[in-house]
Structures are given as structure tokens and as C-alpha cells.
Point group: C2
Chain length 224, copies 2
């Protein structure tokens, strides 16, 4: 039996998403907590990337992770084993987290005691891009097997993120994925996005991502 906590949420259609998102950011700023929203297609490697990221940030930082899924709690169980505060959120069929769902999930954490909160959003390149979750940082993972044309087909996702991680570069020999073309397509949508080619599985390229990420933390944390 799993001992992981599962929160069943249902959307409040009257909630003012933008106002709630602003309030989440205000509270997190007050608590010196940085909130990071990780998005991608299903199977692009969000969980593996987060586990590899935790390996670089624990135990220096106090970390909480929200795993959002329509069903199942396999990811939260993996996170719990990695030794962080972990919460499985079921979105009640919703195709993404929004600020209302996030605010209710955040109440389950004691944010004042956390430096970093990661949200592993529902695997989807459409809805998560449309909903402000109140995060300070939006990260998109594009994996090599998906193809280099995805920024053309899902423009908003690549517009709303501060960094794009090109994941699974260890599989480049097996796929028709042109890294230069991918970077060009990302730049078309978002000239300012940081782009990190890496493999969460082998660790290649992960250091550059971690260095950049640490520089985005709340100033209080950076001085540590």
C-alpha cells in the first residue's frame, strides 16, 4: 500500500485565476520561497529531471513537490523515496493545474518552512500553458523523441516559459532530431528563453541547468 498523500481537487469555476496567482506569488515572496512549474508532453521526462535536480539541491534546500495527475500516484511515491515533502494532486479530470487548484494544494505544505516548491504539471502542451499557476518560473521540457517541430505546433507553451530543457539528448543517434533546428524553432516563439540540452538520465548537461536555476532563486536563498 502506498503511504503517499493524495489530494482530490475539483475546479471552482468562479475563481479569479489571475488574482489567486498574484496572491500565491506575493505570499511566496514574503516567505522567500521560489515556486517552479515544470511542464512537458507526457513522457518527456519531468519526473526523472526532477529527481536528478533534487540530487543537486538536497539537502542544501528544503524542498516540496506537488505531483499533478488525472489519476495514479506513481510519481509522488518516487519523490517521497527521494526524501522530499511530496504531495499527489488529482485534478478531477482537469487537463492542467491552475492557480485555484494550486493554492489549495499549497495549503497542504507549510510553505514558510520550504525554500523551493516544484509543481510537476499534467503532461500536456496546451492547457498548462494557458493557466497561470502562480509560479515564479515556468519550465518546459522538450524531449528528443518528440521531434524538433514542437515549438511550431504548440506556440504558447514555448512563449510562457523562462527556460526550455531539451531532454534525452543521449538518444539523439536514434531519432531524426536536429538540435539546431529545435533551438531555431524555440527562438521563433521566445527569443529570451534559456535553452539547456541535457540528459536527465545520464546527467550530461545538467550542471548548466542547475547553475542557472540557482540564480533564479529568491535573493535570500542565493546568499546562503
Amino acid at each position: 500500500m502506498s503511504t503517499v498523500k493524495v489530494l482530490e481537487l475539483h475546479q471552482d469555476l468562479n475563481a479569479d485565476n489571475d488574482a489567486i496567482a498574484r496572491e500565491i506569488r506575493r505570499q511566496n515572496r514574503q516567505n522567500h520561497t521560489t515556486f517552479i512549474n515544470v511542464m512537458s508532453s507526457p513522457g518527456a521526462g519531468k519526473t526523472t529531471l526532477l529527481l536528478e535536480t533534487l540530487r543537486h539541491l538536497c539537502p542544501q534546500y528544503r524542498i516540496g513537490i506537488m505531483e499533478a495527475d488525472l489519476d495514479a500516484s506513481v510519481d509522488a511515491e518516487r519523490m517521497q523515496k527521494a526524501g522530499v515533502v511530496s504531495l499527489q494532486v488529482h485534478t478531477g479530470g482537469e487537463c492542467a493545474m491552475n492557480a485555484d487548484l494550486t493554492a489549495r494544494a499549497l495549503q497542504e505544505f507549510d510553505s514558510r518552512n520550504l525554500d523551493l516548491i516544484f509543481l510537476e504539471n499534467v503532461g500536456n502542451l496546451v492547457c498548462p500553458a494557458e493557466n497561470d499557476t502562480g509560479a515564479d518560473l515556468n519550465i518546459e521540457i522538450l524531449s528528443v523523441p518528440e521531434g524538433d517541430d514542437k515549438p511550431l505546433k504548440y506556440p504558447l507553451m514555448f512563449q510562457v516559459c523562462q527556460a526550455v530543457l531539451i531532454n534525452k539528448i543521449d538518444t539523439l543517434p536514434w531519432f531524426d532530431f536536429d538540435c539546431e533546428k529545435a533551438v531555431k524553432n524555440i527562438r521563433l516563439r521566445n527569443p529570451d528563453a534559456e535553452i539547456f540540452p541535457l540528459s536527465a538520465k545520464t546527467g550530461e548537461g545538467v550542471n548548466a541547468w542547475i547553475s542557472w536555476l540557482k540564480n533564479q532563486f529568491s535573493p535570500n536563498l542565493r546568499q546562503e
Copy 2:
């Protein structure tokens, strides 16, 4: 310049989706046209699978293809080069086609002159499963790089389809994907789904999928 036809659609929120879906099926039955909705995550190989499928069905059958995307028209251009009637549909930001959008797109084809119509839906495991498009067959493509746990996380998608294609099996050596576990997870969601492990790229396993597909066609076509 692309010469492909692009249809810009916007959802009519008052449309009765189920009624329109039923009407689409009635008309297609009358015309002896079979309408097949192909769904998957972004980059699971819908376009490559369709191109490989066309290779087995052309010129015996008269085929039309609708390519649904939020933006871009790269897929419709590839289909046009393959010699079929091809239409790019932009969903106006909608994360999936529904029966209303499909009915309007179908008007652009002369369905009476087509035996088969394929819809390549928006790459997404959530919204397309929730919307009846009026298709006679729903097909889900699960690709090896996505992982064998996807049926646990996206239950509805695997429930609504008649067949699941496990694609990119040529990459099995490079991923931690357990085919038996994938089949077990699909069966949990849908005991009746046909399951075809294949590689649209190498052609391995494609014949079994094509044989099954031909048996689903309108009885008129099957007698040809």
C-alpha cells in the same frame, strides 16, 4: 510558399456535441465512408504512422486527411506530398477537435467521394479523449519513449479507443519500457482494446495493424 489549405476554426460553445457527432456518423454511414480519429501525445508518431498506413491503403482507397493543430501546417504539407486530399485545421487554441469543429472541417471535403477520412488530432492525452468527434474508430498511439505507465495517468484516453498502437518499438533497447507492463496497464483501462506493437519508421508490426484496420471499414469497402 505552402499551397496547403488551412481552415481557421473557432468553437461554437452552444453546439450540442453529441448530436453533431451522431449526425456525422449517420452521414458517413450513408456515404460508406469510414472516419478514423488518431490521437496521441505530441511526438508519439501520428504523422509517420499515417504516412506508413497510407502506403498500404493507396491507391486502393480514396482517402482524405484532416490535420488538427493549434498552429503550423507542416503535417498537412507532408500528407499532400503523399498524394492524398489533405486539409490543415487550426483549432483556434482549442486543445482538441470536437464534433462541431470536425463537422465544419468535413464540409471542405466531398465525403461522398472518399472511402476513408483520417483525423490527426491535436497531440494531447487529455482533451481529445473527452470530445466525441463523430469518428467511427478511435486510435491511440503510445510511443516507447513516453513510458509504460501512461495508461495509469491518462485513463480516459485508453478507455475510449478501439485500438492502441505501441509505436517506436525499434527504440526499445534505448528506453526502460516494459512491453508486458504496458499491455497490462492498457488492459486495466480497456480489456477489449486491440494492441499492436509496431514501428511506423521501420515497418515492423505494421501489417497486423493494417489487416485489423481493413476489417473495420464500412462493409461496402470490405467487399471490394
